[in-house]
Amino acid sequence: METSTIPILKSGDCLISSPQVALHDKLAVQFKNEVLQQAIETRAKGFVLDVSAIDVVDSFLVRQIGEIAASLNIMGTQTIVVGIRPEVAMTLVEMGYSPERMQTAPNLEIGLKTLQKTWRI
């Protein structure tokens, strides 16, 4: 399997990933598969996805991120998306994406704290 070259880091019981490149369709799918694989291998309890470097999103990417969150939640890994930019937030809302579908936090620090507080990770 080709790797996406997007680093997925492990810290304690948490996985952290912060894509710094534009996530085009193929890359997004690879990334999703890698995250799910890593979550199983490392038995992580939480996953923090930092999207502060992503300034353009399309419906496909939104779907992929939603799928990552949903799949991980089923696998028992709490996902939190942090650092959504204003323009991305507006795009998501325009697309009709409701915020209840994923947990969010302003930045990585608060994201990790939230995981610790709510899920004792």
């Binding site: 204003p86 937030a89 998501l92 809302v93 915020p99 969010t104 936090a105 302003p106």
Partner: protein, 283 residues
């Protein structure tokens, strides 16, 4: 009434053809009549093929602050230099190339002592053989318009203040009418603020002073609430008046998932509670 002006090669004796209701009445205006017309309009100058100024009216001289003798024979880029000079974007060059009227809005054109924002309109002029040899440029001074726009912008900014009420609590008191422009302005300033902030904040939108609200604006506010949530913060709405509430319900706007409180103080209480503050009274 349609008017078409044709200018002779020597530009000294312009003729005017006045067409009335389709039938053309060739009527030659005297030079005095024509020049009084030209003198009374906005700044206008006639350029030859080399972009040399061969005619300009008094308004033009006044705008650039030079006397007619100083202007005549100079190139237009010497008198009113701009960023598009010597490029394909030049209004006159475009007009000649495309054979139709072209426009350009310049931030500044240089006058003797000041910069003037202006709109330049170039009209291509054909000679008797039908070749595009000259252009007529009319300049519209936009100073007043710009000033109005600036003032509007300042007022718009002032109309949506972000008040730091407490640590991580931002209050937006709204008074007056909530229309789409204002709603968009609110969205922009809130999201910018949240992006700048390092921690989770609670935004209280107090709409107690809002008399009317339309569907578009209401939807925009709802979208903002969702966007704020996506960015990891929270926005609550307080002080919805009975008539506004009734309007929202009648319009069929879905407020589920949005925290609303009756008054600003309940809103503050909610925010304090959420952030772990406790207000106690001494003694």
């Amino acid at each position: 009434m349609k008017k078409s002006a044709k200018v002779d090669q020597d530009f000294a004796r312009p003729h005017a053809f006045v067409s009335v209701g389709g039938s053309i009445m060739a009527k030659k205006l005297t030079t005095t009549q024509l020049s009084s017309i030209v003198d009374s309009v906005q700044p206008v100058a006639l350029y030859n093929d080399d972009l040399k100024i061969v005619y300009c009216n008094p308004a033009y001289c006044q705008l650039v602050g030079l006397s007619p003798t100083e202007i005549m024979g100079k190139h237009c880029y010497e008198v009113i230099p701009g960023v598009s000079c010597h490029t394909e974007n030049c209004t006159s060059i475009r007009a000649k190339k495309e054979g139709k009227i072209s426009f350009e809005t310049r931030k500044h054109i240089l006058s003797t002592d000041r910069y003037i924002p202006a709109k330049i309109t170039a009209i291509p002029i054909k000679d008797s053989e039908g070749n595009m040899t000259a252009t007529l440029e009319a300049i519209t001074d936009l100073t007043e318009q710009e000033a109005i726009l600036e003032r509007d912008e300042a007022i718009r900014k002032m109309s949506t203040p972000l008040v730091d009420t407490w640590e991580n609590i931002v209050l937006i008191p709204l008074i007056g009418i909530l229309d789409t422009t204002r709603a968009r302005q609110i969205t922009e300033s809130i999201l910018e603020r949240i992006a700048k902030e390092k921690s989770q904040i609670i935004v209280i939108l107090s709409i107690g002073g809002i008399a009317t609200i339309d569907t578009k604006a209401a939807n925009h506010i709802l979208k903002t609430v969702h966007a704020v949530k996506l960015m990891g913060s929270e926005m609550i709405i307080t002080g919805v008046r009975p008539d506004v509430a009734a309007t929202l319900v009648t319009l069929g706007i879905d407020l589920t998932g949005i925290v609303t409180r009756s008054h600003l103080r309940e809103g503050l209480e909610y925010a304090f509670d959420k952030l772990g503050w406790k207000v106690t009274k001494n003694s």
